[in-house]
Amino acid sequence: MATKRTVDVALSTTGLDSQGRPQRVPLVTDESGNVTTMEAPPALEPELEGEHMLINLGPQHPATHGVLRLVLELDGETVVRCIPHVGYLHCGFEKIGEYRQYNQIIPWTDREDYLNSPGNNVAFALGAERLFGIECTERCKVLRVIAMEMSRIMSHLVWLGTTCIDIGAFTPFLWSFQERENIYNLLEGWCGARLTTSLTRVGGMIADVPDGWVEGLKGFLQTFPKTIAEVDRMVTRNGIWVGRTIGIGAMSATEALNYGLSGPMARASGVAYDVRKDFPYLDYETYDFDVPVGTTGDVYDRFLVRMEELRQSVRILEQAVARLPDGPVNIDDPRIILPSKTKATTEMESMIHHFKVVMEGPRPPIGESYVAVESPKGEKGYYMVSDGTSKPVRWRIRPPSFVNLSAIPKMVEGHLLSDVIAINASIDIVMGEIDR
């Protein structure tokens, strides 16, 4: 006669679900140990035929481009829902800005978007100069354009290297970092630092470019297009690359605008918005360059837009180098910018101005200003409010990557897990800017 015997296998779970129903199938055996009948498991709800899995991507992960945490609800390999968590690099930049003079804030602008340090320095100097009501000299303007475009190239090279490595192509990472070394050499010659440059001051720059620097830049502009062409040859029409990026993470133009996307993300979706063209600064309307605009807004379009921006930056740099005028690089107002050492050590007035600028800092009139520039990530703006003292009342960084990243739940729904990595890479985020 068959005896019912329940075999208790030791598992780490209790074996009961939330309703108290048993989750293990009891085996029924007869005396000789053969399985005779089995009790059917309790019926599951039809939509739960596969459980959704909640997995955690980050905050420490090679492919999240910094400390980003994505919580993904997966149905197999398909993403059903994505919940991003940011703030793992929040360092209180805006709070610190309220306790520092305007020139002292410039090293902080290096560190928030650390891939675009010279660009951030220029953006901040433009905002502060708007608040002061001053304009920099002609030479300074062209030097700032050079700094901005060099930093655009720097940032897009990191994006290129890391996106290729995320999708699986390792070699362009080494090529792009080798090109970055060439730019690092130039920046080091100009200001002494490779990455965190602190290039500008309110009213001018840290210093004029040294002798022979412009020739060095011209040499870079000769060799760099060859690298872009090489990466292009290797990647753009590559079957694997195209297969992994076409149709992934598409956003339409109206969606992109509504989500506040800017920069290459918006332009790839078809929004023809470039701050350099629409709200220009530093005489950008006098430079001859094109702005690439895509159609579908998928990862491949964003890739093409950024590759084309690299070529256009080279074009702008060639024009800037050709038109670099002679003249002073700082404005002539010693109440705002440090006077030259000769004057500061020989003239009493200049020495007092030097002392005041260093100890107290230049004081703008009461007011506020918002100046936005086209950073490689999008519309980067510094909103500064002044109450007449040498420290701003409010220093707000308008972070393009922050707003771009908020669209990731929309872009990622319905795609596979490996597409999440590709989409994340295509947004080109910098956590320093997102979290500030």
């Binding site: 780490s12 779970t13 209790t14 679900d17 959704h52 899995m53 909640l54 955690n56 905050p59 919580v71 829902r81 919940i83 968590h85 940011v86 703030g87 209180g92 709070k95 306790y99 708007r130 009501g133 304009e135 598409a250 339409s252 133009a253 605008l257 509504n258 506040g260 996307l261 078809g270 929004v271 023809a272 063209k277 629409d278 220009p280 530093l282 950008y284 309307e285 579908t296 807004g297 998928d298 007011g367 506020e368 200003s369 918002y370 936005a372 519309e379 703006g381 909103y383 409010v385 109450d387 009342v393 409010r394 308008r398 990243l405 908020s406 669209a407 929309k410 729904e413 795609h415 500030r436």
Partner: protein
């Protein structure tokens, strides 16, 4: 997921939008105002408080309860078409008499225009204003950050919780002027609280319930997710 084949569009400036030039010789105050300011005054006379032009930028002060309608108008009206929300932020002044201002930066891509809308909230009362998330999806994280840093609550926001600090952060709202630079607690206490904040448990229950998988998780994982876990291997 949008099907890319069916929605190629291009959005850009209108052909008769003003020609862009680098602004020069901008006066401190005065100067030409953005035409939208006058139209707001006309359409919302009770909501309009005043308009300023500082360094060439037009700022329109609006009553806090009417901001949503003004921004809705600026988004929808074909002469305005401020389809792009650039930023939502707050400003608190060092002068204690001044109210806390919530600032919206709007851009019109079609007409190449920029306008700043401000609403003043009295400190001491509950700081709250209606969320513009129904109009601009991009306001989602921007408003969460304002809440995290200033404590301003946005009514109608789908998911208002802290974004830059961890959700159980107890020290306060960092960018307020009464919050000291180095925080309210000692360094040791800050470290202790930070280490006690379990990163895996930092979920809101709504997320897990909507995920529908919570019921099927093993009970030890459920307990962990509700905040009972001790870290350490």
């Amino acid at each position: 997921m949008t099907d890319p084949a069916t929605v190629p569009q291009t959005v850009g400036p209108a052909p008769n939008a003003p020609v862009p030039k680098t602004p020069k010789n901008i006066p401190h105050r005065g100067g030409p105002a953005n035409a939208s300011a006058a139209r707001i005054k006309e359409k919302f006379p009770s909501a309009f408080v005043r308009a300023d032009v500082v360094w060439g930028e037009t700022t329109v002060f609006v009553r806090p309860d009417a901001v949503f309608d003004v921004i809705q108008y600026l988004h929808d009206d074909p002469n305005e078409q401020y389809a792009y929300l650039s930023d939502v932020t707050c400003v608190e002044y060092r002068d204690l008499e001044q109210p806390l201002e919530v600032v919206w930066h709007l851009r019109s891509i079609t007409w190449r225009a920029f306008i700043r809308i401000k609403a003043q909230l009295t400190k001491g009362a509950r700081l709250s204003v209606k969320s513009v998330w129904p109009i601009y999806k991009g306001a989602d994280w921007l408003e969460r950050e304002c809440y995290d840093m200033f404590g301003v609550e946005f009514e109608g926001h789908p998911d208002l919780r802290r974004i830059l600090m961890w959700e159980q952060y107890k020290e306060g709202f960092p960018l307020r002027k009464d919050f000291p630079l180095r925080g309210r607690f000692s360094r040791a206490e800050q470290l202790r609280q930070a280490l006690a904040a379990n990163p895996e448990a930092r979920y809101s229950m709504e997320e897990l319930q909507i995920a529908d998988a919570f019921e099927d998780l093993p009970s030890d994982m459920r307990k962990r997710l509700l905040g009972g876990e001790e870290t350490g291997e």
